[in-house]
Amino acid sequence: MTPSDLPLWAAWTIVAVTICGSLLALVGSAGLVVLKRFYERVHAPTLGATLGMALIVVASVVFWSMTEGRLALRDLLIGVFLTVTTPVTLILLARAAVYRDRVEGDDHIPPE
């Protein structure tokens, strides 16, 4: 089955789920611009990195499974990988920021 042979309901479902995921990624990135302090901003992109990514990956799995006519789970690899790595990067980044603020004597760091 080629993508143009997909049933209409499947195309609309894939599009709706993908747009929901993109909207979450957009809201997360907007938070990066809108929020005032680094320790607030560090939480914003996780919106797109967790639920936004999951919705787009699910849409991709459905699309490729229907197109290829078999269960195509390879896109879940991206989902698993990002779910494992996102907390690691954000914890490392937040710890580096706290360390730098402490060295510079900034009073606004979060308490231990």
């Binding site: 990624a25 990066l32 680094f38 730098r100």
Partner: protein
Amino acid sequence: MTASAVLYWGLGAAQAMLLLAMLLAAWRMMRGPRAQDRVLGLDTLYLNAMLLILVQGMRSGVGLYFEAALIIGMLGFTATVALAKFLMRGEVIE
């Protein structure tokens, strides 16, 4: 509307949103004000680019985009970890 038209325009709208998200992340990366803000902006930029390529794979029906998205996701993780370590220690490999 046929299924291919729905996919073309709907996934195109999703790509426009992801592109806007990339622009916002790039603004934070260039604006700063501090190095950790720039690293956070770069991480978000990587993530949104990966999602954009994943959607492009669905939109064009070419399966090869999956590999590109996977590699970008892995490189983004490595880059952010290395940069966070650099911010903390001043060097990546001790």
